[in-house]
């Protein structure tokens, strides 16, 4: 632990890692709340995996892979959102196809990129210790965009997530709101890829929010609590992975998963206890 604090004080890479972890936690708490309550976990999974296509293409053409990821994520969000609104009955099949094709395209691009072969593993599983200072700034900007848009459209997002039909009767463009929500999920995904990589993104997007849901009365409180859980999971995962010299992304997810399982068990016990007392 002391060694970790020492490194944190002296090494820029560890400072970047902790800051990115905390910034990402804020976004994953806010957007994760929508993902969990609106039940768009599979859709978010589709967006995050399709992103590899954009990262691969950016890498092949010599752009920054993170920027490629951002463009790909927004395109994937709009495409998948369109599919889910228009072809609702075949939604899962079509999203499954986009998911796999996006990844395949990414792998082909990366394979065909001449010269030093990029570490595919770091895209897939993330490496928070490799995050650069400029990425910190990028993530901070995305955070700012997400927080301000959610603050502006809070009541509209709530209405559309809770009761789509009634929102439509209120004259709200349900489709537009839904697509905007998915774009914000996409921005969050890009952020989280830096922390845990493409494959584990979905866990960080859902587990803090799902844990927070057990203790929240309102959507706003769930967001705050989920962000706090996210911050605890990423930071403690980072500390453990550094001390044990194990992969950081996977450690963060295991910590989050264990916390979720414990919260579920606790909640189950509490409701058993209550019904027992009633008897």
């Amino acid at each position: 632990m002391f060694e970790f604090i020492h490194v944190l004080q002296n090494q820029a890479f560890m400072q970047n890692a902790v800051i990115v972890g905390l910034l990402a936690a804020m976004a994953c708490g806010i957007m994760g709340t929508y993902v969990v309550t609106r039940r768009i976990v599979f859709i978010s999974g589709g967006i995050s995996h399709t992103v590899l296509g954009g990262m691969g293409a950016a890498y092949y053409y010599g752009f920054n892979p993170t920027h490629g990821a951002f463009v790909a994520a927004i395109i994937a969000a709009l495409l998948i959102g369109f599919v889910s609104l228009r072809y609702h009955q075949h939604e899962d099949t079509l999203i499954g196809a986009l998911w796999a094709v996006g990844m395949a395209v990414g792998i082909l691009f990366i394979y065909n990129t001449p010269g030093y072969n990029v570490d595919l593993m770091s895209y897939l599983f993330g490496n928070i210790l490799m995050v650069k200072r400029e990425s910190v700034l990028f993530v901070a900007c995305l955070d700012l965009v997400i927080i301000s848009l959610v603050a502006l459209f809070y009541k509209r997002f709530l209405a559309v997530c809770f009761d789509e039909e009634y929102s439509r009767l209120q004259g709200v463009s349900v489709e537009g709101t839904y697509l905007l929500l998915l774009c914000l999920v996409a921005a969050t995904v890009v952020m989280l890829i830096q922390v845990v990589g493409i494959i584990l993104v979905i866990a960080l997007l859902t587990l803090p929010a799902a844990t927070a849901r057990y203790f929240s009365q309102s959507l706003g409180k769930m967001m705050i609590l989920a962000s706090m859980f996210g911050a605890v999971f990423t930071t403690s995962g980072l500390v453990i992975s550094y001390n044990q010299d194990i992969p950081s992304g996977a450690t963060i997810i295991v910590v989050a998963g264990l916390a979720y399982i414990m919260a579920t068990a606790l909640k189950g016990l509490a409701s058993r206890f209550r019904s027992y007392n009633k008897k």
Binding site: E165, Y166, S218, K221
Partner: protein, 244 residues
């Protein structure tokens, strides 16, 4: 003569190739309390959705206050069947009622003070002010129904549409809800869908039986023959008061 608020003329409606409603003509006058009855799958809810403009007729026309249904929406309150709602969603009763102000509140930012006050008032009207901070998912069926009624009322509607408001509610609570509707009928036209014919007949002043087509003329007294024709067989009838 009362003015006409809803006018449905020769309407056909089909989901894919299946004709759900055939040649429906129905007019609803200001201040009525219309009960739409019919067996399950007879197209009752479809008829409500046509009046709301959520779906459009294959043939014929639907006018609300002489306008297209979409344009009349600000004056319509709607209470959906609550089975379609996710009860684990973390929202308070107040949050749900405020959704009824969404169309009239500013596009971005928070609800205004006036919206909050009107929501409080609507909760008072349906007699559940004390539940305003409760989580929606923890409420009983009857309480949820009242929350949805408050959400419909908060927009100050001139027509109130209710889809099976008493399904999965026990008898006594059901009666409370109908008493409440009777009170609300003084301010608004009410159109109510129910498969439970016996009970509503003591409260409504018009009945329309739907089974793909409109079987009985709502302006005539309802007899057991007509109801039988609607359900395709004799139905046990309780008391009927169709006063017109």
């Amino acid at each position: 003569m009362n003015k006409t608020v809803v006018e449905i003329r020769n309407v056909d409606f089909a989901y894919d190739d299946i004709l759900v409603l055939k040649d429906i003509t129905l007019t609803v006058e200001d201040g009525s309390f219309l009960g739409i009855v019919g067996p399950n799958g007879s197209g009752k809810t479809t008829l409500l959705k046509l009046i709301l403009g959520l779906i459009h007729p294959l043939r014929g026309s639907v006018r609300v206050f002489g306008q297209a249904p979409e344009r009349a929406r600000p004056s319509i309150g709607y209470v959906p069947q609550h089975a379609e709602i996710d009860s684990s969603f973390p929202v308070s009763v107040m949050d749900v009622v405020l959704i009824g102000r969404l169309g009239k509140a500013p596009l971005i930012g928070k609800y205004r003070k006036i919206d909050m006050e009107m929501a409080e008032e609507a909760l008072k009207e349906v007699e559940i002010s004390e539940l305003r901070t409760h989580r929606f998912g923890t409420l009983s069926g009857g309480q949820r129904q009242r929350v949805f009624m408050a959400r419909a009322l908060v927009g100050r509607p001139e027509i109130l549409l209710l889809d099976e408001p008493t399904v999965s509610i026990d008898g006594r609570v059901e009666q409370d809800i109908y008493e409440l509707l009777k009170k609300l009928n003084k301010k608004a036209t009410i159109i109510l869908v129910s498969h439970d014919l016996g009970f509503i007949s003591t409260y409504v002043n018009q009945v329309a039986c739907v089974n793909r087509s409109l079987v009985c003329n709502p302006t005539e007294n309802v007899t057991s023959d007509v109801i039988g024709a609607c359900y395709g067989g004799p139905v046990h009838m309780i008391k009927h008061k169709c006063e017109l």
